[in-house]
C-alpha cells in the first residue's frame, strides 16, 4: 500500500534576514534536511509503529506524507497504492484514503464538527463520483461512530476542538478517522497528553477500526500505547533514519534499555 524509498526531506528554511534583522533583497531558499533516507513498506492489514526520541524526524515524516506546507522533499519517492503520493495535494491524499490523526489538533472557532465532517465526507464522496450523503444517514453515521470513542452527541454541534480537553481532542481525531474510513491512517503521538482512561478509549476505538483492508502507522515516544494498539512491526527512528526494525518485542527492549541501546546496537 505504501512504499517509501530513500526519502530525504526537510523544512523549507527561508533565511532572508541579515544580522540587522532587515529583509535582504534576495531571500535564500534552503532546506534543512531532517529525513535522511527513509525506507519503509506498509502492506494492507498491517500496523506499523515508529518510535524514536524527540527530534528524530517522526512528525516530519507524518507531515511529508500528508503534504503539509513548509516541508520539502529533497530526494526519494513515496508510492501510495502505486501512485506518486508526493505529487498530490493534501486533500487529494485524503480523498485517496490517507488520514492523519494530528499530534496537536487545531481549534476552529465558528465551524461546527457536524458541518466540518459533512463537508469532508461529501468532498470525498464527490471525488468518487458519489452523491452527497443524506442528512438522515449522516446523523446516523455520526451517532454510531461517536459511540466508538465515547463522545457525547452534543459535541457535534460544538465548534471543532474549541474548548475541548486534550483527551477530547484526541478522541475527536479518532472519531474523524472512523467517519472518513481511510485506507492508511497515521497516528501522530495520539497518546501524548492522554490519561490512562482516555488512552484505553482511544486505543479501543482504533482497534475496532483495524481490518484486513486498511493499514495503520502509529508514531509514538512510548511503548505504553503499543500495549493497547499492538503493532505487527516496530521501527526505531533516529536522526532522520530508521535504524532498526523488528516486531513488538523491539518496543519492549527499547522501553527497558532506552534509545541509546538501539543506537549502539545499530552500530554493531
Amino acid at each position: 500500500m505504501l512504499q517509501i524509498k530513500n526519502l530525504k526531506a526537510g523544512i523549507a528554511d527561508i533565511s532572508n534576514t541579515g544580522f540587522s534583522g532587515l529583509k535582504s533583497d534576495k531571500p535564500e531558499r534552503t532546506t534543512k534536511e531532517i529525513l535522511k533516507g527513509i525506507n519503509l513498506e506498509i502492506k494492507k492489514g498491517e500496523t506499523h509503529a515508529i518510535m524514536g526520541p524527540n527530534g528524530s524526524g517522526k512528525s516530519t515524516l507524518a507531515s511529508v506524507l500528508t503534504g503539509k506546507e513548509g516541508y520539502e522533499v529533497i530526494s526519494g519517492e513515496v508510492l501510495y497504492k502505486g501512485i506518486n503520493l508526493l505529487e498530490l495535494a493534501p486533500e487529494e491524499r485524503a480523498r485517496e484514503g490517507m488520514f492523519l490523526a494530528f499530534q496537536y489538533p487545531v481549534e476552529i472557532p465558528g465551524v461546527s464538527n457536524a458541518n466540518f465532517l459533512k463537508t469532508a465526507v461529501n468532498e470525498i464522496r464527490k471525488s468518487k463520483g458519489l452523491d452527497p450523503i443524506s442528512s438522515v444517514n449522516f446523523l446516523k453515521m455520526m451517532k454510531e461512530k461517536a459511540a466508538l470513542v465515547e463522545l457525547e452527541s452534543e459535541f457535534t454541534t460544538r465548534y471543532v476542538n474549541v474548548g475541548f480537553s486534550g483527551g477530547e481532542k484526541k478522541r475527536n481525531e479518532i472519531f474523524q478517522l472512523a467517519m472518513l474510513e481511510p485506507e492508511l491512517a497515521i497516528l501522530d503521538e495520539t497518546d501524548s497528553g492522554l490519561d490512562i482512561d482516555a488512552l484505553k478509549i482511544v486505543s479501543s476505538g482504533v482497534n475496532k477500526l483495524r481490518n484486513k483492508n486498511n493499514a495503520f502507522l502509529v508514531i509514538t515516544h512510548y511503548q505504553r500505547l503499543l500495549n493497547y494498539i499492538v503493532p505487527d512491526f516496530v521501527h526505531v527512528m533516529f536522526d532522520g533514519k530508521i535504524i532498526r526494525s523488528g516486531d513488538k518485542e523491539l518496543a519492549l527492549h527499547l522501553e527497558e534499555y532506552g534509545y541509546d541501546w538501539a543506537k549502539e546496537n545499530n552500530k554493531k
Binding site: P90, A94, F102, P105, I108, G110, V111, F116, A120, I124
Partner: protein, 468 residues
C-alpha cells in the same frame, strides 16, 4: 478650500435659494423646520466640504463623494423611474432574491423607498398599532409639527458635520416613525431602500427620524439595494447614486430598538450615513450593521448614553472585494454612570479593497461604573487589501471597566491544512474559515428568519465572489 470644493458649494447654495420654500417664495407650513434648513445651509456654506487633511478624513477622500454631485440638486430625491412606475410587474425591478427573504419573515409592515421617495405603491403597512406613526418624513413635517419640532435636528450635528448640514438643509423626503409609550411591536418593520438611475448622476438625501417612547419596543430591518436591471441596461454609462443619509433616533426610558442594517447595493452606489442616537434611562439600542455592497461607504454612528442603566450594542460586519472602500466610524458617549456598551466590528477584505475602522468610546467624568468594550477584527484575504483600524478610549472617570482592541490577520495556515487533510479542497477550506470568521456577528441576531437570510446571503457572497 480648493476650487472644486467651492464651485460645488456655490452650486448647492444656488440650488437651495431657488427652491419655492426659500423664505418669501411660498407659504410655509412649518416655519421652524424652515429656520433650521436656513441655518443649516448657511452653516454648510461656512464649513464647506471636509478635506483629507482633516483628521476624520485621513483615509477616505471626501471628494470621492462630492465631486459627482450634479448641478440642480433637489430636495425631492429622484422621482421613481417611469420604467418602474409603469411596469406591470413592479417587483421585477426590486432585487429578486429579496422578496422571498422578507416574505419568509412574515413582515406585516414594509416601507419601500425608491430613490428617496416613500413609495405608497410598494409599501404595505398592514398592522400598525394605534398611535404608531409610520409615514413619509415630508408629510410629517406638515402633519405632525409638534413632534417634528421637538426632535428634528436636535441631535444631528449640522454645526460641525458638513454632510449632516447638507442633508439638513434639504431635509424633506425620508421616513418618520413614532412609537408612543407602552407599545410592543413584535415583528420587525422593514425599511427597504432602492436606488438607481438610468439617465443622470443623482444625489439622494433621505432623512430618518425615529422616536421610541417609554417602555416601547421596536425592531427595524433597513436594507439598501440597487434597482434591478437598471444600470446594466444603460450602455457605456454608469450613473452614480450618492446617498447622503441622516438618521436621528431617540430612545426614551426603558425602550428598546433593534436596528438591523444591510448594505447590498451595486458598484454605482456611494453611501454616506450619519446616525445619531440618544438613549435615556434603561433603554437598549442594538445595532447590526452589515455592509457588503456599494462602491464607497462611510458609516458614522454616534450614540449618547444619556440616562443610567442604558445598554448599547454595536455589531458590524463588512465584506469587501474589488476596489470597494469602507469607512466605519462610531462614537459611544458614556455621559452618565452605570451604563454598558459592547462593540464588535469584523471585516473581511479581499481584492484591492480598502477600509477604515475608527471607534471611540468616551467615558465622561461622572460616568462611574461604566462597562465598555470595543473590538475590531479584520481578515485580509489578499496582499493588496488595506485596513486602517483605530480603536480609541477616552476615559475621564476612575471607576470603570473598559477594554478595546484591534486585530488584523490572514487565514490560519494550520487551520487550512487541517481541513484539507480531511479531503476538503483549499478553496472550500478557505471559504469555510472565512464564513466562520464572519458568522460570529450574524449568529448573534435574535430574529431567526433574519439570521437565516443573512447566513444564506453571507454564504453566497463568500462562495460566489472572487474573494480570494
Amino acid at each position: 478650500m480648493d476650487n472644486l470644493n467651492s464651485n460645488i458649494i456655490e452650486k448647492i447654495y444656488n440650488s437651495y435659494i431657488s427652491f419655492p420654500w426659500y423664505p418669501g417664495q411660498r407659504d410655509i407650513k412649518n416655519p421652524e423646520v424652515h429656520n433650521i434648513r436656513n441655518n443649516a445651509i448657511t452653516r454648510f456654506k461656512e464649513l464647506g466640504f471636509p478635506e483629507m487633511k482633516d483628521e476624520d478624513w485621513r483615509y477616505t477622500n471626501p471628494k470621492d463623494f462630492y465631486k459627482g454631485i450634479p448641478s440642480g440638486i433637489t430636495p425631492k430625491g429622484l422621482s421613481i423611474p417611469t420604467k418602474v412606475k409603469s411596469s406591470r410587474d413592479k417587483n421585477a425591478f426590486l432585487t429578486p432574491d429579496l422578496s422571498p427573504a422578507y416574505a419568509g419573515m412574515e413582515m406585516d409592515n414594509i416601507v419601500v423607498n425608491i430613490n428617496g421617495n416613500f413609495s405608497e405603491d410598494f409599501s404595505s403597512l398592514k398592522n400598525i398599532p394605534r398611535g404608531v406613526i409610520v409615514k413619509d418624513f415630508k408629510k410629517a413635517i406638515e402633519e405632525n409639527p409638534e413632534i417634528i419640532n421637538t426632535y428634528f435636528s436636535k441631535l444631528a450635528n449640522y454645526k460641525t458635520e458638513s454632510f449632516t448640514a447638507l442633508n439638513t438643509a434639504f431635509a424633506n423626503c425620508g421616513i418618520f416613525i413614532y412609537i408612543p409609550s407602552n407599545v410592543i411591536i413584535d415583528k420587525p418593520l422593514a425599511l427597504l431602500h432602492f436606488s438607481g438611475s438610468d439617465n443622470q448622476d443623482v444625489l439622494l438625501q433621505p432623512r430618518s427620524l425615529i422616536i421610541v417612547e417609554n417602555n416601547s419596543t421596536l425592531s427595524i430591518v433597513e436594507s439598501r439595494y440597487s434597482l434591478n436591471n437598471f444600470n446594466s441596461n444603460t450602455i457605456n454609462k454608469k450613473n452614480i447614486v450618492f446617498t447622503n443619509h441622516v438618521s436621528e433616533i431617540y430612545l426614551k426610558e426603558n425602550s428598546s430598538l433593534h436596528h438591523y442594517k444591510e448594505h447590498n447595493e451595486n458598484d454605482n452606489c456611494l453611501h454616506l450615513g450619519n446616525t445619531y442616537v440618544k438613549q435615556e434611562k434603561f433603554s437598549k439600542y442594538k445595532s447590526f450593521n452589515i455592509c457588503w455592497g456599494g462602491k464607497i461607504q462611510r458609516s458614522n454612528i454616534n450614540t449618547v448614553l444619556g440616562g443610567e442603566g442604558c445598554e448599547c450594542y454595536l455589531k458590524g460586519l463588512y465584506l469587501l472585494d474589488g476596489n470597494r472602500h469602507i469607512d466605519i466610524r462610531t462614537v459611544v458617549d458614556h455621559a452618565v454612570p452605570n451604563c454598558s456598551s459592547d462593540e464588535l466590528y469584523k471585516g473581511i477584505m479581499a481584492g484591492e479593497s480598502t477600509g477604515v475602522f475608527n471607534g471611540k468610546i468616551i467615558v465622561r467624568k461622572d460616568a462611574q461604573k461604566t462597562v465598555a468594550y470595543q473590538s475590531n477584527k479584520n481578515l485580509l484575504l489578499s496582499d493588496k487589501a488595506v485596513i486602517n483600524s483605530k480603536p480609541q478610549l477616552e476615559i475621564f472617570a476612575d471607576d470603570v471597566k473598559c477594554s478595546h482592541g484591534a486585530t488584523t490577520g490572514r487565514l490560519d495556515k494550520d487551520e487550512v491544512f487541517y481541513l484539507r487533510s480531511r479531503g476538503i479542497s483549499k478553496k472550500e477550506a478557505e471559504n469555510l474559515l472565512t464564513y466562520a470568521f464572519a458568522s460570529e456577528i450574524i449568529t448573534d441576531i435574535d430574529n431567526s428568519l433574519l439570521r437565516e437570510y443573512l447566513e444564506a446571503e453571507l454564504h453566497k457572497k463568500i462562495t460566489l465572489s472572487t474573494l480570494t
